[in-house]
Amino acid sequence: MIQQVHPRNPGGAAEGLALPKGPLDLADLTAAPRFGLKGPGSTDWLIGHGAALPEVNRLADWQGMRLLRLGREDLLLLAEGAGEALDRTLESWRAHPGPRGWSAWREEGWAWFRLSGPAQDEAMARLCAVDLRPTIFPGDRIAQTRICGVEAVVLRGGRGFDILFDITLTAHLIGRVAAATHDLCQREVEP
């Protein structure tokens, strides 16, 4: 049995770093199930299994999971609370003789954080150059951009902004969000 070590686990690069709480809440979902599928055959395989694929940079619900289309043949399944559905999907995918794309190892290569709270929109406006206001960036959109100088995939879920990025930069992102939280809190107490 292989035990994954995430950056905030003992021995990880972000061990001991506290996640911001308060007007900005940062939650670590890195251990939550997900799967990236990429390359020729990816879309055909998903369509063949009943998925209605969204356009590029859009997402759709599929079997209780969120299906993100990051490119023509670059897809990501987020299965928070839908681990069994993802397990069934993976079982079927692995048994398929192909072509079926290949695993992009998003469950290992990317961290997954959620930024929420009353100050989430103001914080994102500081951390990201893309206009992520709800009227411009509704819940079915994906932004592939930079946050805190880190390349990231961003989406606006019902419970905050989901941010997926290079897992090796976890400590950096936590530090930058903590600094933004500090700035926002400082300003709130100023006369």
């Binding site: 940079n57 490119g71 150059a129 592939q144 930079r146 390349e151 990231a152």
Partner: protein, 85 residues
């Protein structure tokens, strides 16, 4: 802030992009001389006017083409490689 419009991701900060230089036809490996290859690999044309260049939107790893006037540094249009003639 300079803004470049990615055909797939829309207008973005220029920091999100990487330039890969002018699009040009590769020499035929069956007949090209060493001098042809050296010129292709190491020498830029650098003539004034409009060039078609390869660019990459880094966060999405998407490659596309841009027409840019290298005198004014104005990007005239960006488009998917599938639209290239």
């Amino acid at each position: 802030m300079k803004i470049l419009t990615c055909p797939m991701n829309g207008p973005r900060n220029i920091d999100e992009f990487q330039s890969f230089g002018p699009m040009r036809e590769a020499p035929d490996p069956e007949v090209a001389s060493d001098a042809d290859w050296a010129r292709y690999l190491f020498q830029a044309e650098n003539q004034p006017g409009v060039v078609v260049e390869w660019w990459r939107h880094v966060p999405s790893n998407y490659f596309f083409l841009a027409e840019r006037d290298i005198v004014t540094n104005r990007v005239l249009r960006t488009f998917d490689p599938g639209e290239a003639e």
